[in-house]
Structure formats: C-alpha cells, structure tokens
Symmetry: C2
Subunit: 137 residues, 2 copies
C-alpha cells in the first residue's frame, strides 16, 4: 500500500482562496507568519506537466499571493519555491521573509539561527487581498 | 560605498542562453550538476515589480529551462525557486534533483547528508534544448 498523497487528502487546512483548479492555504509554519502555499488540485508532478494555460493560471495565483503578502505584511523579501521532492504534487511556497526571521537571510530550509520575532497576520485582510489580486485584470 | 550587485556585474559565467531581458547560466553548484540560474537583466527585486508581460516572459524562460533539464538529464524532480534574500536582484534557481544527491529529499539549502554521485552534464545538448524550448510556440 502506498500512503495517500497529503495534498490530495489533506488534514484540515486554513483555506484563503480556492477554485476548481487550485487553492491557497495559510501554512503559518512556526517562525514564518504569513507563509502560504498554493496547491494545484490535480496530482501533477512538475510545472511542465501542465498545459500552458494551466501553468499561466497557477503562476498568476502564486503572484497574486505575493502581491497580497506585500500589501498586507510589507515583508523585506518574498520567497517563491516549488520543490516537491517529498510530496511530488505540484505546490508553491510563497513566503514573506523578514530580516531577523529564524533563518534570514538563508532559505527557510536552511538551519534556523534564531527564534525570530512574533508577528500577527491579519488573515481577513490577507484573504481579501488575495481575492482582490485575483480579480484584477 | 555599497558593494556592486554580483548579478549586475557578474564574475565570468557559463551562459547557456540570453537575450536583451534575461540570461540562463549553468551554475553547476558542487554536488548539483545541471543547476541553472535564470537571471533577469534589470536590477528588480520581486516578480510583482515586473509588468505582466515581463513576468510571463521570465516564467516562460524558467519553464523552458525546466523542460530542457528534463529532456537532457531526466531528473527525479525539478526544483524552482526565487529567493533573493542575499542578492535582491530577480533570479530563479532551476535545479535538477536526483535521489541520493547531497541533500535529497531536502531542499538544496538544507544541510548536506552525503556527497552525492558525480554526473556529467552534456552542456551542448542542454544549450540546444533550452534554445529549442524557447523557440517552441
């Protein structure tokens, strides 16, 4: 028996936006408030396994989340990554980064150098900002 | 004095593809043969600082490199990332990943668990595959 894919059959999630093709969840990894994931609905491995229109829609959603995070949290940098070595189901990490966060200026996958400051995320404002960015032409 | 940006004024690079807006270099980070970087020409910080047509062109180039790496190296997974915390000049890491590479299945920024196997990259084939992917409709 193969274990079910945790993105096909997820544990309870905090969904900020979704449609028939993709969803955005607030992952809120410890030390990284506002850490979002954009998850493609279908169990697809690589970006280049998607047809061109689907690639464009997924990337537009990733960049809408980036725009929303910048508007709501004003991070020092946004990090974008699609890795999937452990869970090969297409998903993007969209991570607001702040000077002094646990692994700054390294990647969030680098060893943590410190605890980082607490930061409250206005989830309602973030949700609205994603919807607004997705509605923009 | 601020240090010059290392992507605006690079050390010698192995350029695989370029046009007026962007270039693809073979970074070949130790332990990660075929590791490519796609570098936007202008010193821009975030994807959402680019106008929409430029975003689309840069992402098309990133995915052309993914397609070329898959065609030439058949990696177990491709990792895509735009971080820029250290060098905030828009660039994408396009990384062919193999089971047993130094940090597999972690990110390449995670601690290395092993040396990984040597692997020869056919640079000529990779260069041709990128050009071919960029020429495709």
């Amino acid at each position: 028996m193969t274990a079910p894919c945790p993105l096909c059959e997820p544990a309870p999630e905090r969904v900020l936006w979704q449609d028939a093709e993709a969803r955005v969840i607030l992952a809120d990894e410890p030390g990284y408030p506002g850490f979002c994931r954009v998850i493609w609905r279908d169990h697809v491995r690589e970006m280049t396994d998607l047809p061109a229109p689907a690639r464009a829609r997924l990337l537009a959603l990733v960049l809408a989340v980036e725009a929303a995070l910048r508007a709501v949290l004003a991070p020092d940098k946004v990090n974008l990554a699609s890795l999937g070595n452990v869970v090969p189901h297409l998903h993007w990490h969209v991570i607001p980064r702040f000077e002094g966060d646990p692994s700054w200026p390294g990647a969030v996958w680098a060893p943590r150098a410190r605890e980082g400051a607490a930061r409250v995320v206005d989830v309602e404002a973030l949700t609205e900002a994603i919807a607004s960015a997705m509605a923009a032409p």
